[in-house]
């Protein structure tokens, strides 16, 4: 008690506060501590529920859960490979498309001084961030997918599809829903996140660096490429991982446009399936004791573990870059 009453509570102010404890103080302090503790307990509960739920499937199916392509409730065999594959492929496509756009946008928003360009662009990017995912799904279904399937997919198959190795990615299929659609939708959804964080990171690059490179005779482009971007690199990687985390967990929009087809195809123009999509489609029906229920929880566990690793790495990198030592 004595020790508690002498903690420096207004440490920001640099004013050590020593005073008697009163009922109100104790209650408020206790209450806020309890609430914070509750959050930690909640997280632990979440992990425990997922892990205990996933245990039967993981022990019964073993490694074949990760390597089998069959997901069959009738024979009670569940292999997660198509979902894991689809999740990784769509997220990768999203990153490849979103990253250059986001960096370009962030640079533009930082470099251009005219508010006639900056303000509308900022509003548009904020708008993209505010659109709910089911609306993206609707747009993907009615605007994006037809456009991609009618114009872009045949074009890609005709041009890039002829290349030796890369060509396998663009083998045409008649499917309406495919992984390319999902990747493009995800790219649109994560652009606002990556842009916002990248913009902040670039804004923290010291002006000295930029001015020094300009003084050496660099053009603006060169100073960005040689001074600004290298300095901000780890922060940009962190921003990318933040976006990747969002892309991995996106559910409804993806399930609406990806075609929900089981099967592993190298071609981006073939239908696929992702972990969140299968959870949304099957978890509602899955009987609450069966192996399917457990297998779905195991999928969620896989998703959470990936998300955790990404989030951890991203925090580390953004923080490092903001502090400025690399």
């Amino acid at each position: 008690m004595e020790e508690r009453s002498t903690t420096r509570s207004v440490s920001d102010a640099g004013v050590p506060v020593r005073r008697r404890l009163r009922i109100g103080d104790l209650t408020l302090r206790g209450g806020t501590v309890a609430v914070s503790l509750g959050l930690v307990v909640l997280l632990a509960g979440l992990l425990v529920v997922l892990a205990t739920g996933a245990a039967p499937a993981l022990s019964q199916l073993g490694l074949s859960f990760f390597t089998s392509r069959q997901w069959d409730p009738v024979t009670n065999h569940f292999g997660a490979l198509p979902y894991i594959y689809g999740t990784l492929v769509t997220s990768t496509v999203a990153l490849v498309l979103a990253l250059p756009v986001s960096i370009g946008l962030a640079l533009l928003l930082n470099e251009v001084r005219s508010k006639w360009v900056r303000n509308p662009l900022t509003v548009l990017v904020d708008l993209l961030a505010a659109i709910p995912s089911v609306v993206y799904g609707l747009w993907g279904l009615f605007v994006l997918a037809p456009a991609l399937n009618t114009y872009l997919a045949p074009f890609l198959a005709r041009t890039l599809g002829k290349l030796p190795v890369l060509g396998a990615l663009f083998v045409p299929t008649p499917a309406v829903g495919n992984m390319l659609n999902a990747g493009v939708i995800l790219a649109v959804m994560i652009v606002p996140i990556i842009t916002a964080v990248t913009r902040e990171v670039i804004a923290t690059v010291p002006a000295d660096l930029r001015e020094a490179s300009l003084a050496l005779g660099a053009t603006r482009f060169e100073s960005i490429r040689m001074a600004v971007l290298p300095y901000a690199r780890s922060g940009i990687v962190g921003a990318t991982m933040l976006g990747l985390g969002r892309a991995l967990g996106e559910t409804i929009a993806v399930s609406m446009v990806i075609g929900n087809g089981l099967g592993i195809s190298a071609s981006l123009l073939a239908p696929g399936y992702t972990i969140p999509a299968v959870i949304a489609n099957e978890f509602r029906e899955a009987t609450s004791t069966g192996l399917q229920h457990s297998a779905l929880l195991a999928l969620a566990l896989v998703l959470v573990v990936i998300a955790l690793v990404l989030a951890g790495a991203s925090r580390l990198l953004v923080r490092r870059s903001e502090r400025g030592f690399r």
Partner: protein
């Protein structure tokens, strides 16, 4: 090779190309955004009518007969209110702890901070699963009307369940923004309060929190926007229907039944009217999407107005 040598050896075309690439990026993003908004307005506008807002969704979504959005709008509003009730005290408590009481070096603070960051990275569909697995346990029957007679499990889907999980889902975000706004309260306020000899909890209650209120309200309003737009949790935990589970839901005596029953939101209405949800009335889906986007944008605008007032006060 020094930077200077590097510079001399570089061809100069890069500058123009880099700039061009940035503008292309901006043009693409603007085009996509305007296309989404334009398409929503263009396709949804015609279906907006008094009737659209005052009729309920029809039983069958097929053959272009999707009905109106009365129940979904009520559902969205109810879910937002309930989730805010769940989230608000927790968010303010945790933000107060993190900004006023915590000791950066203590292990407990580090655990709380890490926990929050982890929670923020959990996808919403996983929260939905967690909620369904947890609240299906028999002891939680009081939160959701039980499904089949004599079932050993609770139904696990209701407004209450969905609101609790939704509140938890947006908590990390709301706590983060609230904490920042509490930290932004000038130190002089706290010193002044301290100099007047009042206890710490009174100073927090009477000085710090009121000064941070606009920021906290901004956080909550932005959180409301997230709640209105989320689909995955609603899909798993509100029953995935287009109707209210409770009959005569407008009657005050039915209130508890409504809370414990399933329901619809704008997001489920949009989903079920699109081909993905086996519906066949995309026009209605667009109209509902337009309503939803306007709602979320309105919340964002209100939040930024409140936030701006805070800045003016702070200076």
């Amino acid at each position: 090779m020094s930077v200077q040598e590097k510079l001399r050896s570089k061809p100069q075309w890069g500058s123009g190309f880099g700039q061009f690439a940035c503008w292309v990026a901006a043009a693409v993003v603007s085009a996509v955004c305007l296309s989404i908004i334009g398409y929503l307005v263009f396709q949804g506008w015609h279906s907006l009518s008094w009737k659209f807002f005052t009729t309920d969704p029809s039983e069958s979504m097929r053959e272009g007969a999707g009905g109106g959005v009365r129940v979904p709008i009520v559902g969205t509003a109810l879910l937002i209110v309930l989730a805010v009730l769940v989230m608000f005290p927790i968010a303010v408590g945790a933000a107060t702890y993190l900004s006023e009481y915590m000791d950066e070096s203590s292990w407990f603070t580090r655990v709380v901070r890490t926990g929050l960051e982890v929670l923020a990275s959990v996808p919403s569909v996983v929260f939905g699963m967690f909620g369904l697995a947890l609240f299906s346990m028999p002891i939680f029957t009081f939160l959701s009307s039980s499904g089949a007679e004599g079932a050993s499990q609770a139904f696990g889907r209701s407004f209450l369940v969905a609101a609790i999980v939704m509140g938890v889902h947006v908590l990390p975000f709301v706590i983060k923004v609230s904490e920042e706004s509490i930290r932004a309260v000038p130190v002089s306020y706290r010193r002044g309060a301290h100099a007047l000899g009042i206890t710490k909890w009174r100073s927090i209650r009477k000085v710090v929190l009121p000064a941070a209120a606009p920021g906290i309200v901004t956080a909550v309003i932005l959180g409301m926007g997230l709640i209105a737009g989320d689909t995955a949790i609603v899909w798993l935990l509100l029953g995935g229907t287009t109707t209210m589970g409770a009959s005569n839901w407008w009657a005050p005596s039915q209130f508890l039944q409504v809370l414990r029953g399933t329901g619809a939101t704008l997001t489920t209405y949009i989903f079920f009217n699109s081909p993905a949800g086996d519906g066949n009335s995309p026009q209605l889906a667009y109209a509902a999407a337009l309503v939803l986007v306007v709602l979320v944008l309105a919340l964002n605008v209100i939040a930024s107005i409140v936030g701006r007032r805070r800045k003016r006060q702070g200076s």
